[in-house]
Symmetry: C2
Subunit: 267 residues, 2 copies
Amino acid sequence: MDSAACALCCPARAAHLPMLIDSLTHPTPDALLTFLRAQLHARVTLHLAGEVEVLYAGRATSMAEAGDRLLLLKPDGSLQVHGPRGVKPVNWQPRTDHLSAELEDGCVVLHAERRSPAEVVRVRVIGCAQVTALHLGDEALFLLQGSEAQMQAALARTPDLIEPGLSVLNRELLVGVGGIDLYARDAQGRFVVVELKRGKAGHEAVHQLARYVQAVREQVPGTVRGILAAPDITVPALKVAQAAGLEYVKVEALPQVPEEALQPTLF
Amino acid sequence: MDSAACALCCPARAAHLPMLIDSLTHPTPDALLTFLRAQLHARVTLHLAGEVEVLYAGRATSMAEAGDRLLLLKPDGSLQVHGPRGVKPVNWQPRTDHLSAELEDGCVVLHAERRSPAEVVRVRVIGCAQVTALHLGDEALFLLQGSEAQMQAALARTPDLIEPGLSVLNRELLVGVGGIDLYARDAQGRFVVVELKRGKAGHEAVHQLARYVQAVREQVPGTVRGILAAPDITVPALKVAQAAGLEYVKVEALPQVPEEALQPTLF
DNA sequence: TTTTAGATATCGCGA
DNA sequence: TCGCGATGTCTAAAA
């Protein structure tokens, strides 16, 4: 591999913007090791394209034979190894307590460890086509519309959307294990437990609601109603709800923040 | 931005290995558009570092203001936009039915759509520091040890690991909603419902077991035991289990596939 | 296509 | 740190 020559003859090192810090093409193992050691603990993001083997041991154990992969190392210590398909990495480590690069048998080996849970990912770089160090800067402003938290806030403001005459007593009320999304009282003065789902509700949501309703019934006298509020529900879940004496109310997921309002700002 | 000159003077285009197809540093929007259009539908993996804005609309709606990001486009049509932290992308599209690159107001804009669910991700590239086209080849051999399926198979072979005298009648027995991991009979001839968890079991697992046990009790006469088999359990979950008359049995997660057996193959 | 259950889920919050 | 629940969860398998 005539990689040192390449790295020297065409180094894309001129960083016109502060973002691109350094980049090597087809480096030798030695050059790669020097590069990694210089950048690893420098709050930079590294991506590396090359042929690698990966070994993971922790909650489970996995091994991947040599293959073309894309590595991503972020300044928070997270590591991911991507293959040719899917959003999910082939191997990963969400957070590393210890990260190091060594030379073993002529190959650079990355070692990413974390405790709690005790896990280790070892990446052996057999060949490196390109490695780049970037400064990704701080997190940019990010807005998400349509989360369950926003749905909860909207319905807490206008509980009539669930049922006329409903008045909210609490949000995120802790009752034993877990929290009740909305705790309310209906027009007849009965207590109502409301479980929200931002998407289609499955039977797990019904069971969750059932647990909360039972917990409340053990603590307060009188009738306690349970309402599952979601934009949709699976057929089996609806049957389970009806059998358990729980109600389903269809509510729209998004309080319509229109594209027109977002579009001009961004594009 | 004198990017065209840079792309021409130091193009890391010489692909010493078949993996690296092409790479540009600080391309102009026009050069980037040409590059993307040439590579987008060519079964290659693209990664792009630059300043981008992202707009997502679908199950929810999100917008990210301009920031330094790393884009990853795989040949299966998946797209992900990474920020400086975490394994999870800031924005993504697991699968695209339509992918295109356009020039809008002097900026390259990527458009990734999918139907079912109807979702769209728009990425506006304000500045591109580096873009690379790679051939990641086929998926390499990958082995994972320690899945719940493997645990179930192991315990079905040797149910004595759960309790001496236990004999397995069924695996994945369907009973109403959901399936019983292991259905067995103990030394006294009582029916036993076993729920497995490969990691630490929470109270959800206990409730899941309780549902199955109740379903079985409605169908067969006599005593029905419920056993939660997992390598660990949370304290609240254990209390709930004891209160419900359900048992917890500690089982090791991995049937000992030793590092010694894996290590020599890989390293 | 719909539904379910698993995942090395990840991530963030609250006690 | 642990426990818990949401996630644009993703993903594969089964009905």
